[in-house]
Amino acid sequence: MADQEQGRRRRRTKGGPPSGEEDGAGLGLAQVDSEKIDDLLEEIDSVLEENAEEFVKNYIQKGGE
């Protein structure tokens, strides 16, 4: 398929099969602006809602649309 090849031209190739146990940890973890995220991670426990764990268990919605 010629068009398909054309589309691929602009791409850099990347190998590796998909993994059933994928959790993103093997994605290479881009280091862009990571200090901004690190700061936020330091704060997360104070940002998270009180009793967040119990709350998220009780977060039940009706299906919509």
């Binding site: 959790d23 901004k36 995220i37 991670l41 940002v47 998270l48 967040a52 299906g63």
Partner: protein, 494 residues
């Protein structure tokens, strides 16, 4: 040449009141709609006087803080031309009709501001131990999903068979940049730690009319909200609600561009997938973006490869047929996102909700040594979507400059008050501002005025591009009351 892709979004928000017990969602949604303080006046949406649901029996004496279901305004049109109402126990904001995807992304963002304001009003009426929460997401993590729909104007002359042939592959492959990210899987799909979209697990058919069960990739609802002999309204239900403005812009812009080219027969191939429903959740579950998808004609292709092909075709199409700068901006963002996704998906975490959230969850998980199934990760993932800036994790990322925005706060606030100028939404919204007390009802394609002289008069708006500021502005500038407006319109049409 394809007709202009007038477009807009409709988003159902998650709503809950902490420490209130069960069975309050429908009334909470009604309280949000009734509580929204925006604009000088709001007008009842016509025809559909929806009840807030049957959950009232669960309340008894505990009903305070909630509106009286018989008198509450739960279905309204705002001064920016949007509709704000209760749909299936969710507060829903349907943005006004827009002429380009950038504008439509702006009016989608307004919905978050509307919900945040309304939430604060409701909070004031609640006892101190109860707290209202509103989320712009699409799933409760327990297999209930609610929608974020997109609407695009199509020509009635475009055979729907063509939509069914071409659209599924585009819609399932665009998920790699339309997903808002989700911890785990739902609806009996195979287990996963984290996936790209909130919605993919819920799609079970390729084509169908339903939106609440056995959801289809292509929805066949035929309700044009305009002249049915000239138009279709394509109702796309497969997308996620996005916090990222760039992501909403990409989702709407690439789809509008695709539909443009499809209507003009400018797509070289339909690229039909052998199993679109399976591909839908497989793409969402594959964070490495390398899942091969079988093509009907043989061979296989990945979602990323498909999107690079569409980019190639649609760049060429736009270069030949569309000269508005918004399409140049769109194509640049699109190419940038695809190249970054290919190199390392996390490079897009300044633009895409699914990678922004993934990066944060990975960091927190590593620091605290938590399993993916730990409820604190689910709580963090949920709070990403809170509409209130003081709690929203998305908002924290924006504040730190870790996520890009497209719109300033003042642009969003202006769009909360004023309608887009290039569609009939301008006429609708301006009439609500100017003549609200005389407007008995309004909807997408008509306004119903009550005048002293003529009684009830319906003004029809069957053309989505008529009633814009340039053509209707002089008329509305001239008239001082609805009776005069009706007279002038009568003379013009008579």
């Amino acid at each position: 040449m394809a007709i202009p892709k007038v477009l807009g979004t409709e988003t159902e928000y998650g709503v809950i009141i902490r420490n209130r017990g069960h069975h309050h969602q429908a009334l909470a949604a009604a309280a949000v709609i009734d509580g929204y303080p925006g604009g000088p006046v709001r007008v009842q949406w016509s025809y559909e006087h929806e009840a807030p649901g049957s959950d009232a029996r669960g309340f008894g004496h505990e009903n305070f803080g909630m509106p009286d279901p018989d008198s509450a305004l739960i279905n309204s049109v705002l001064t920016n031309g949007a509709r704000l109402y209760v749909d299936h126990s969710h507060p829903e904001y349907s943005g006004p009709e827009c002429l380009d995807p950038r504008e439509a992304a702006l009016y989608d963002k307004v919905g978050e501001l509307v919900m945040a304001r309304a939430g604060r009003v409701v909070q004031e009426s609640l006892p101190p131990n109860q707290q209202i929460r509103l989320y712009k997401n699409n799933s409760d993590g327990k297999s209930s999903s609610y929608g974020a729909h997109e609407n695009y104007l199509l020509s009635r002359r475009t055979p729907f068979g063509k939509v069914i042939e071409y659209l599924p592959t585009f819609l399932v492959s665009r998920q790699i940049y339309t997903g808002s990210g989700k911890v785990g899987s739902e609806n009996h799909r195979p287990a996963c730690s984290y996936q790209i979209t909130q919605r993919a697990d819920f799609f079970e058919e390729v084509v169908g009319l339903e939106t609440t069960l056995r959801r289809p990739i292509v929805n066949t609802r035929d309700e044009p909200h305009g002249d049915p002999t000239r138009y279709r309204r394509l109702h796309v239900i497969i997308g996620d609600a996005n916090l990222s403005e760039i992501q909403t812009f990409l989702k709407l812009g690439t789809t509008a561009l695709f539909l443009h080219a499809m209507e003009d027969d400018a797509l070289p191939s339909a690229l039909e997938l052998a199993e679109p429903v399976k591909a839908c959740w497989q793409i969402s579950h594959d964070l490495s973006l390398s899942q091969p998808l079988a093509l009907s004609e043989g061979g296989s292709i990945t979602a990323l490869e498909l999107q690079f092909l569409y980019l190639e075709w649609l760049s060429e199409y736009a270069r030949r047929h569309l000269d508005h700068p918004v399409w140049t901006e769109l194509l640049e963002e699109w190419e940038g996102v695809l190249l970054d996704l290919e190199e390392d998906p996390l490079l897009t975490s300044d633009r895409l909700d699914w990678t922004a959230k993934l990066r944060l969850l990975q960091g927190y998980r590593a620091r605290e040594n938590l399993r993916w199934s730990h409820p604190r990760l689910a709580a963090l993932a949920l709070q990403y979507h809170d509409v209130d800036p003081s709690r929203s994790i998305y908002h924290r990322l924006v504040e730190r400059g870790a996520m890009r925005r497209m719109f300033t706060r003042s642009e969003v606030e202006r769009a909360e008050r004023l309608p887009p100028e290039s569609t009939r939404a301008w006429f609708r919204g301006t009439c609500v501002s100017r003549f609200g007390p005389s407007l008995v009802a309004a909807n997408w394609d008509s306004l119903l005025f009550e005048t002293n002289h003529d009684g009830l008069v319906r003004v029809s708006m069957m053309e989505p591009l008529q009633g814009d500021r340039v053509t209707a502005g002089p008329l509305l500038g001239r008239v001082s009351d609805p009776a005069e407006l009706i007279r002038e319109l009568g003379e013009r049409n008579g």
